[in-house]
């Protein structure tokens, strides 16, 4: 189903490739027939060699046509296959980007990577590997079978059956045998990949735990299971291909008998009987090509189902509204991770007026990160309302939201790219000076300047190794580059030593003038004096009386917020 829809989406390049494949098959059959006809005519000792000129010309012309059609077909097939891969990958990626984070991270990241990279290749390759040969086979078998009934008799019927068995039966058998094993293979490989990634990622945590090798043995058992399924799929392909070869050989024998009978009866001109057998043999060569490759179809279909499940109807997007200013207003907010589950946020109401600086504290698990995720529109909420600049949060266009709201997460991620690329994620057009100033602010400029390549130094396993605290400060620099009017900082100083923490806090304080800041922390924040302290425990907020976060305590340097409504 999914595969069918995918193929339909690329029908034009696929139709072109199929047309060329059919032309190549026709040319191959014609070439075989023409050369046989040439031989038979020659054996009849024609009075002059001139009688052979036409078949010789036909042989040459068909030979060139076959070569050209095969070349074109191969290019077209690759083109179609690569387009399919790109399409599958783009759809998988946008699905991943749209999924709420809780759902996306429910799967191991290694498992996702495998899907986006390898499974997309596999699904996209289905055309070149299975569909194209099958189309050509059907064409060849069909056109040969069209000619055979004219010969009449049991032998012709048997030859027709043989052709069908070779072109349709063997692939169908392969698909049937490979189907269940393929689905099991995909599932087992997913499990193995997830286990292996988890075990590798947790090597530091569990160093020496597996001294008796139990976990490694479990991995070994999973791998053996994957191997067994893979062998079953491969064996199905091998058996189907060999059966197709056998059917082709036997069919050739029956075709010979059928043509002999037809010639004896006079139903077929005598000098066409041998060329007819040649045509059937050539058709069989094309017809048996796809036999084994369809064994992989079950595997590919299973991969496609996991990669691109049927899209449900998307929720209707609310009308877009541009926020004016950047006050944040939350009323009676209720959020839970599972339907009917406990509320992670329960009736939270608060205001973060423009320019207000608020400290949010509370025990871990109390709902602080949940609130951050709702405000950043990473998680949906079920009750109440959130407004940014007077516009409902869900109505704010994505770009506008990200421009106004910069978040430094508790566990920020750095790209496998250069320092500059990582910083420019926040603002694509930021100049080198801006980047250096941001690095200066987090006390990282000297360190980056000393890296080979400076801003261009790459942050990946083999390249630069930054310590935990340095990575966190780089994430803070990224926030500074974003230059957004609202900052949400989730434990930004965690892991920094006292002196660095104080220095960074002071620079952040300077840069925070005029911005709204929601700072989440467990410890007293050096240098900062907050307008209000909110406490979030068990999903309930204390200290934030609706309508005033103490913004009055500090005159906002910018014009006072104008809250519509």
């Amino acid at each position: 189903m999914i595969l069918g829809r995918l193929l339909l989406g690329e029908r034009r390049p696929i139709a072109l490739a199929a047309l060329l494949a059919a032309a190549a098959a026709a040319a191959a059959m014609g070439l075989a027939g023409a050369s046989a006809y040439l031989a038979v005519r020659a054996a009849g000792r024609p009075p002059s060699a001139l009688a052979l000129l036409a078949p010789i010309a036909a042989v040459r012309g068909l030979a060139l046509l076959r070569a050209g059609a095969r070349y074109g077909e191969r290019l077209a097939a690759h083109h179609a296959a690569l387009r399919l891969v790109g399409r599958v990958r783009a759809r998988a990626l946008s699905r991943l980007l749209r999924a709420p984070p809780a759902q996306a991270v429910g799967r191991a990241s290694g498992e996702w990577l495998r899907r986006v990279a390898a499974d997309a290749d596999r699904v996209g390759g289905v055309y070149a590997d299975a569909v194209a040969p099958l189309l050509a086979a059907l064409f060849a078998a069909g056109s040969a079978a069209f000619a055979l009934p004219r010969c009449g008799g049991l032998a012709a019927l048997a030859a027709g059956v043989g052709l069908a068995a070779s072109a349709l039966g063997a692939p169908a058998l392969a698909a049937l045998l490979g189907r269940a094993a393929g689905a099991r293979l995909v599932a087992a490989r997913g499990r193995l990949s997830a286990e292996l990634v988890t075990d590798l990622a947790g090597m530091a945590d569990l160093a020496g735990v597996d001294a008796d090798g139990a976990a490694r043995r479990r991995l070994g058992r999973l791998a053996a299971e994957v191997d067994a399924h893979r062998r079953a799929v491969d064996l199905a392909a091998a058996v189907a291909a060999s059966l197709a070869a056998l059917a082709a050989g036997v069919t050739a024998a029956f075709a010979a008998v059928a043509c002999a009978r037809a010639a004896a009866r006079g139903a077929l001109p005598a000098d066409l009987a041998v060329p007819a057998v040649f045509v059937v043999v050539a058709a069989l060569e094309t017809a048996r090509a796809p036999s084994g490759s369809l064994a992989a179809l079950g595997e590919v279909a299973a991969a496609a189902r996991r990669l691109l499940p049927d899209p449900g109807s998307p929720a209707p997007a609310p009308p877009r509204r541009l926020p004016s200013g950047f006050p944040v207003r939350v009323r009676d907010l209720g959020m839970r991770y599972v339907p009917h589950g406990p509320w992670a946020l329960d009736g939270v109401s608060c205001d973060l007026p423009e320019g207000a600086h608020v400290l949010l504290i509370g025990p871990s698990g109390g709902g602080k990160s949940s609130l951050v995720h709702v405000l950043a529109r990473l998680l949906p909420y079920q009750r109440g309302s959130v407004h940014l600049g007077g516009a409902p949060l869900e109505a704010v266009p994505e770009r506008e939201l990200r421009r106004r709201l910069a978040v430094c997460e508790q566990r920020p991620y750095l790209l496998r790219a250069s320092v500059a690329d990582n910083l420019r994620l926040a603002r694509a057009d930021a100049g080198a000076n801006t980047l250096w100033r941001a690095l200066e602010a987090v006390d990282l400029a000297e360190r980056v300047a000393a890296l080979p390549g400076g801003l261009a130094a790459r942050l990946d396993g083999a390249g630069t190794v930054l310590s935990g605290g340095e990575r966190r400060r780089l994430a803070l620099a990224r926030l500074i580059v974003a230059d957004a009017p609202v900052w949400i900082l989730d434990e930004p100083l965690a892991g920094l030593d006292e002196a660095t923490a104080a220095a960074v806090a002071a620079r952040l304080r300077e840069l925070a003038g005029g911005r709204s800041v929601l700072w989440i922390a467990h410890d007293p924040v050096p240098v900062w004096a907050f307008d209000a302290v909110w406490r979030l425990a068990d999903g309930r907020l204390a200290g934030a009386d609706a309508g005033g976060a103490g913004a009055a305590a500090r005159p906002a340097p910018e014009p006072p917020p104008s809250l519509p409504g």
Binding site: S35, L38, A39, A42, A43, P46, P55, I56, R66, R70, G86, R89, L93, L96, G106, A108, S109, L113, L192, S193, T198, L200, A201, D205, A207, G208, A211, A223, R230, R231, L235, A241, S242, L243, A248, G249, A252, A253, A256, P363, S364, G365, R403, A406, V407, Q410, R411, Y413, L425, R458, G461, G463, V465, G468, R473, G495, D497, E498, T500, A501
Partner: protein, 567 residues
């Protein structure tokens, strides 16, 4: 963009394939069998052409179907033999692939675990696993498909040529004359294709890095106005990759076009030669038809080789990726075999320890340190001072450039690394929880622990309360890397896991960083009792946490002088 880690050149696919065949034991025999079966198949094909031609000659002579029957039966029997040889060859190749896959994967996985968390940092876990699974699958085909195909592309045409020569030698002469042109031209095109192919693999490398970023950094990327742009960047990379691949394909198929053309022209020439010989009455029709049937078979194996080249290039690139991982050496003391008797706490002595980052800066220099059994040391210092490095040196995941570490009077490098690490419990800065339930995570530390023991450990880590509130309790899923839990919850769960381990040296890297002050006090109240008697090293930047230790070591300002553990 500064390319610090250019992809190593991908060796010629055939060289990679031969190297792999030499590495995997038992491959040579399997290869010989596969090639021998392929030759038998080629001979069967020649026999098939012969029997079919004889049958057709009988047919044109105006034979009755009853006289044709034996000839037709011979065709069927030869077809059966051909199919049998085909199946046997396929199964042999299938077993070759299976063998190579198992060998490569088992070795690579063992190597990855030997490299440890320094050689394979958590962020690299997914690509490393991908190399060990998908990469190994692609590389295994090098020996299973590409090598037999390469051998057969020379041997099978030889068999066909011999059959042709026995049937009608002028046809064989035509085939022989056109044969060398094809590999020559294919080689010229192939050299160009290899250079292009290399560019394509670099692009593919970059592409997979982008995918990895998209998948792993998803929640961060969504927070930025340009996060969505990354998807576009991936799409562009995909497009670039497609263009490059099409370039390679166009060149590669150009060589197969030449092959096709050669085959077509040769077939036409053979047909003409056969026709003229027939007119002259120099050969029988059966021989003429055999010659015609055989002509295209001569080129068939070379055409298959063209297809195999693509697969081989993929396999070689995958093997290069695997080799890059295999070249990383396990840094720790790998030669040791001594084990230590179980005790409550270890004595540690660190003498003159120096370790430099790959870039050359000394991260730790001339560190001296002595810890008595049961002693507790707080390690302080600014970020980048080498606190975490010291822990990895103690675990043997890094090898010091100078100096030595002694454990209970035994040099660390003399110890069996697995046995030693079983005595040490480390809580890393960013603990990694596994995909699964709370129970799965705790049991990973001690598989035989019962629920009561798990709850006790959770109690000690101040985690029992929140786990009890999770839907499902011990059976609640924690998500990939614990992302379903709040930061402080994940940390306390990791702490509970650590407490389940019977270790005599405990290394804590910022153990209470994400906890609120109340939880921190609660954790330390129970932790103090649990740590009694064991040797403990706590990396921290909190003075109040350092107060739980007996002594403190400041790696900070003294990074370039000689830091001393002060009593």
């Amino acid at each position: 963009m500064g390319e610090l880690t250019p992809s190593p050149a991908v060796a010629s696919p055939w060289i990679s394939a031969r190297r792999l065949a030499a590495e995997v034991p038992g491959t040579r025999r399997g290869l010989a069998l596969a090639v021998a079966l392929g030759v038998v198949g080629a001979a069967a094909t020649a026999a098939f052409a012969r029997t079919l031609a004889v049958a057709l000659a009988v047919l044109t002579a105006g034979a009755t179907p009853s006289r044709l029957a034996p000839a037709a039966a011979a065709v069927a029997v030869v077809a059966l033999a051909r199919a049998g040889a085909d199946l046997a060859a396929r199964i042999t190749r299938l077993r070759l692939a299976d063998q190579a896959r198992r060998h490569l994967r088992d070795r690579l996985v063992a190597h990855l675990f030997a490299l440890g968390p320094v050689g394979v940092p958590p962020a690299e876990a997914a690509p490393a696993a991908e190399a060990a699974l998908e990469g190994v699958d692609a590389a295994a085909l090098l020996v299973a498909d590409c090598l037999p195909q390469a051998a057969l592309s020379a041997l099978a045409p030889a068999v066909v040529l011999l059959a042709e020569a026995l049937t009608f030698w002028p046809a064989a002469a035509v085939l022989l004359a056109t044969a060398p042109l094809v590999p020559l031209f294919a080689h010229l095109v192939g050299a160009k294709a290899a250079a292009q192919s290399h560019r394509r693999w670099r692009e593919l490398d970059r592409l997979s890095g982008r995918f990895l970023d998209l998948v792993q950094g998803l929640s961060t990327l969504r927070l930025f106005p340009h996060g969505r742009r990354l998807r576009l960047m991936a799409a562009q990379a995909d497009d670039r990759h497609r263009c490059l691949t099409m370039g390679v394909v166009a060149l590669a198929t150009l060589s197969s076009f030449v092959l096709e053309l050669g085959a077509a022209v040769a077939t036409a020439l053979v047909a003409a030669a056969v026709g003229l010989a027939l007119v002259g009455g120099r050969i029988h029709l059966a021989d003429a038809l055999t010659a015609l049937f055989l002509a295209p078979e001569f080129y068939l194996p070379q055409r298959a080789l063209g297809a195999a080249y693509h697969q081989a290039a993929d396999g070689a690139a995958a093997l290069a990726r695997i080799d890059r991982l295999r070249r990383r050496k396990p840094p720790g003391p790998v030669r040791g075999s001594r084990t230590l008797p179980p005790v409550a706490g270890r004595a540690l002595r660190v003498v003159d320890l120096t370790w430099r980052a790959p870039a050359g800066d000394a991260v730790l220099s001339d560190l001296h340190l002595a810890l008595a059994p049961g002693e507790r040391l707080a390690v302080l210092g600014p970020s980048g001072a080498g606190k975490t490095t010291l822990l990895y040196l103690l675990l043997g995941y890094l090898r010091p450039h100078r100096g030595r570490i002694w454990v209970d009077g035994v040099p660390l490098e003399r110890l069996d690394p697995v046995g030693w690490r079983a005595q040490v419990a480390l809580m890393p800065q960013a603990p990694c929880l596994r995909l699964g339930t709370v129970r799965d995570n705790l049991r990973a530390a001690r598989p035989d622990a019962d629920d009561a023991a798990l709850w006790r450990a959770l109690e000690r880590a101040a985690a029992a309360e929140f786990v009890a509130r999770l839907p499902g309790g011990l059976d609640a899923p924690v998500g990939d890397r614990g992302l379903r839990l709040a930061g402080g919850e994940a940390q306390r769960l990791a702490l509970a896991r650590l407490l389940l381990r019977p270790a005599s040296l405990i290394l804590l890297d910022e153990p209470t960083e994400h906890l609120d002050p109340a939880a921190r006090r609660q954790v330390w109240a129970t932790l103090d009792a649990h740590l009694a008697g064991r040797t403990v090293m706590i990396v921290t930047h909190r003075p109040e946490e350092a107060a739980h230790a007996h002594r403190r070591l400041d790696l900070g300002a003294a990074a370039h002088s000689r830091p001393q553990a002060e009593p």
